[in-house]
Amino acid sequence: MQPEHTILVIDDEEVVLDSCTQVLAGATCRVLTAAGGAQGLKLIEESPPDLVFVDLKMPGLSGFDILEIIRGRYPHMVVIVITGYATVSSAIEAMKKGAFDFLPKPFTPEELRLIARRGLEHHRLLQQTLALRREKELLRENFAAIVSHELKSPLGALQQNLYALTDELADRLSHEQQARMERLKSRLDDVLKLIHSWLRVFSVDINKLKDTFQPLAVAGVLAKAVETVQPHATRKAIEIVPKVAGPLPDVLGDEGSLTEVLVNLLGNAVKYSFPDSQILVTAEAHGGQVQIAVIDRGVGIAKEDLPHLFQDFIRGQKQPEGAAGCGLGLAISRRIVEVHGGSINVDSEPGQGSTFRICLPAAPPRPDASATAECKV
């Protein structure tokens, strides 16, 4: 019979390894032992155990080092630290670094059994939570995709017939009736756009964008986005001022979706700016990253709205007259930026304006560029 659980004990004292094996090993539990950190990590890599006991004080990799490495590679692994110098401070430090519990030496077999049982139970609950979360995610995606498609097709057919009928009846409808037809079409159009955004957020696997990443010049993407938003800005007499600081490194990405992010941020800036104002767009290299900021002097965002801004279906309270949208733009933007390995954040002061900042990792220099650099040397 395959044992239900695997426990790994990492300790440089052989007596501890032996006694732990003696106490914990049984029909349902397999105990692996490692006399040092490197060996322990190798065993974890081969087959991740359900629970890890690790001694804090060992030659070579210390328990803290191991804890940190495990946290980084296996964030959901349950680790209990063992130590001979059971001081409060090392206990606190271990817990801060993500240890589940703390076992002071010397310990009785009963203490060991108890803490192991609790550790395994915690492992089981963690796994269950993860499985449920995955299931929920899948359900949400599938549900949204099905609903959207089922809604989109009939609405599309409806709209198509409205188009056709408006055309066919053009000379028979009164002005008032024609206006009503136009309103119907525009209402339907809004619903279709909403479903479209919905589909983008839920059903499209945004990670697939990575398949077609290529080196992009940020200035070019920026110029394209400014061009798209320019007409809206002009209508409100808003000036968009781009400031690109020197030659920037390329970023690795998908041009279309990155442009979409910038159009979205610029569009928001225009929407929430006062007429006759300026919007500043800056781009600069900053420690291996390219930082782009869109700065407006508009209505700003209330403090309580800031934490939810990049979540799905959130729109700030303060809506200027006639602002349309469903609150998905920033959520989509965040997803796109994150797929690019970057981050997006916002600073805002109500009445003063908002600054949206995107950081994207700089791409390694293009091969041809490095070749010319070498020639110069």
Partner: protein, 140 residues
């Protein structure tokens, strides 16, 4: 200008078909309809058409794409211009990763999104017919 061009629509949604057919008929095109891929292919084999309007999502999936691929391989039908009409433009890129959003399946094709405004529909149809005619003239 003689406009008795003959078009075929393959789409499994009768209501949607009604909405584009009336626009095309009003513009003096002769329009046939097939409501599934099988009838559609049969019609293409039995009659000569000047242009095909093709839905993507039919039946069990992207069956429209299968028709387009089949056309691309058929020496008699390869030059038929195709207007692909899709409700899933944004997903096209994801269905065919690494390809442009507008995948070319036959020599002359174009993509429009459902629903399509009458003016745009007629523009696309005219443009495709024109491109196909030019190609034909050049190959002769």
């Amino acid at each position: 200008m003689s406009q008795s061009k003959r078009l075929l629509i393959i789409d499994d949604d009768p209501d949607f078909v009604a909405g584009i057919k009336s626009i095309l008929v009003k513009a003096k095109y002769e329009v046939d309809v097939a409501y599934n891929p099988k009838d559609g292919f049969q019609a293409l084999k039995s009659k000569a058409y000047d242009l095909l309007l093709l839905d993507v999502m039919m039946g069990r999936g992207a069956e429209g794409i299968m028709i387009a691929r089949k056309l691309g391989k058929d020496p008699n039908l390869r030059d038929l211009p195709v207007l692909i009409i899709t409700g899933i433009r944004e997903q096209m890129a994801f269905l065919f990763p690494g390809q442009a959003v507008h995948p070319h399946f036959v020599n002359v094709d174009e993509l429009v999104e459902k629903p399509v405004a009458p003016k745009l529909l007629l523009e696309k149809v005219e443009a495709l017919l024109k491109t196909a005619a030019t190609r034909k003239a050049q190959s002769k």
